[in-house]
């Protein structure tokens, strides 16, 4: 069977590098109360660059930033996590994972009970090939 190979180089690698840098800078500054605004600013720049240049980022990266206020979300420090079940029968199907940003109160909800075997597209087997 023919196996086609992944391309050798990534187009516009500098954009990806910039985003990765901004992400880490944002996380670094998130640990310093003096620079929390700067941390959010970097995260916002990251988001804008990714949109403008149409890059694909994995959910693992995007979910670490608040959609509303761009806070860097660290469990225990800037985000509150709990499971909510609003159904009367408390059936497992209606479990919802809620991530609440402690900075602005934005809630991100994951209806985990609806499809227990759900796997993210980026975490499926044999899908990802590391770029050189």
């Amino acid at each position: 069977m023919k196996v086609s190979k992944a391309p050798k180089s990534v187009p516009h690698k500098d954009h990806y590098a910039r985003i990765s840098y901004l992400f880490q800078a944002s996380s670094h500054l998130a640990l310093n109360p003096q620079y929390d605004v700067l941390s959010r600013h970097y995260a916002r720049t990251l988001d804008l660059v990714a949109k403008k240049t149409v890059l694909k980022l994995t959910p693992a990266l995007k979910r670490q930033l608040c959609k509303k206020c761009n806070t860097f979300l660290i469990p225990g420090l800037t985000v509150k996590i709990h499971i909510e079940n609003l159904s009367k029968a408390k059936s497992l199907r209606n479990d919802v994972l809620v991530n609440e940003c402690l900075e602005c109160g934005e809630k991100k909800r994951f209806p985990v009970g609806q499809q227990r075997d759900y796997v993210l597209f980026s975490e499926k087997e044999d899908v990802k090939i590391p770029a050189l």
């Binding site: 992944a6 590391p130 770029a131």
Partner: protein, 290 residues
């Protein structure tokens, strides 16, 4: 909308690399869609630089087995208490003759919400330090030192992904870190049976429980602390210079083969090949009409 079926076709698509017509991934049902050819493409995707290596401390299978066994031994007392309470509640609601509550119940947390809440409360010391806003640190009532998670029995993975970082931030100092222990597949069923509670997959223990001292010693000896390199600055402000390369990779997916829009070359070709006969046909057609 069957998940398993979807996965199956995807796998096939991955295997038949190079063939020009991998099976359609998400069939909408229409024949036109089924006919449309797809080709394999590689899309670059940027991953989170922090989640590249697994943050969960490694547990050897044999060690995990003994941990599960001793956990069920420790919790058996609480389990029998739970059973008698449940039976009493089911048989008749009037009598409130329940056995005395085991002491251990006060010092452990069972389940996702109570464990995560306790850990977040522990982490609030750091949160207090990190925010400029006025924020009251939670009362330090309890300190969960050992957290057991049946990682492989809990799906989807979003439910357990945050535990390493949460255990790290909930630690009071580098010496007194919260121990996070992942338990092997099938241990959720065992724990649920022992405790007489459905779907028990997450347990938190305080450090001073007498019955569990041997287990804690065993865990301390055999399982490493949680390491989160990018959060090291939390305990030691000078030690916060973690940097990793952009985590780039390719996703192998498929894209439909569509005719190009606004393809000037193709249009010109068509025009040159089709133009000569066209007028004659038109003329022929027009003649009988007129």
């Amino acid at each position: 909308m069957s998940g398993s079926n979807k996965n199956g076709t995807n796998k096939n698509g991955g295997l038949e690399k190079g063939s020009s017509v991998p099976p359609k991934k998400e069939a909408t049902g229409s024949l036109k869609d089924m006919e449309r050819k797809r080709r394999q493409v590689f899309k670059p995707v940027l991953d989170n630089p922090f989640t590249q290596s697994s943050l969960w401390p490694f547990v050897e299978p044999e060690i995990a087995g003994t941990i599960v066994d001793s956990l069920s031994a420790i919790l058996s007392g609480l389990g029998s208490y739970n059973r008698t309470v449940q039976e009493a509640a089911r048989l008749d609601k009037g009598s409130k003759q329940t056995p005395p509550e085991p002491e251990i119940k006060q010092h452990i947390t069972i389940g996702f919400n109570s464990t995560v809440e306790a850990l977040e409360k522990q982490a609030s010391i750091h949160r207090h330090r990190l925010t400029t806003k006025k924020h009251k640190p939670g009362k330090q009532g309890r300190y969960l030192k050992y957290v057991f998670v049946t990682k492989y029995d809990i799906t989807p993975a979003v439910l357990t992904n945050h535990f390493p970082v949460l255990a790290f931030t909930a630690s009071s100092s580098t010496e007194n870190k919260v121990k996070l222990v992942q338990l092997p597949r099938g241990s959720m069923a065992k724990l649920s049976e022992v405790l007489h509670m459905e779907n028990t997959g997450i347990l938190g223990f305080e450090a001073h429980i007498k019955e569990a001292q041997f287990l804690f010693k065993y865990v301390d000896e055999h399982i490493k602390d949680v390491e989160v390199p990018w959060l090291d600055g939390l305990f030691d402000p000078d030690n916060g210079d973690f940097f990793s390369k952009p985590a780039l990779s390719f996703l192998s997916t498929s894209a439909p083969i569509l005719p190009k829009k606004n393809d000037q070359k193709a249009k010109k070709k068509q025009a040159t090949t089709l133009e000569p006969p066209k007028p004659t046909e038109d003329n022929k057609k027009q003649k009988p009409d007129s």
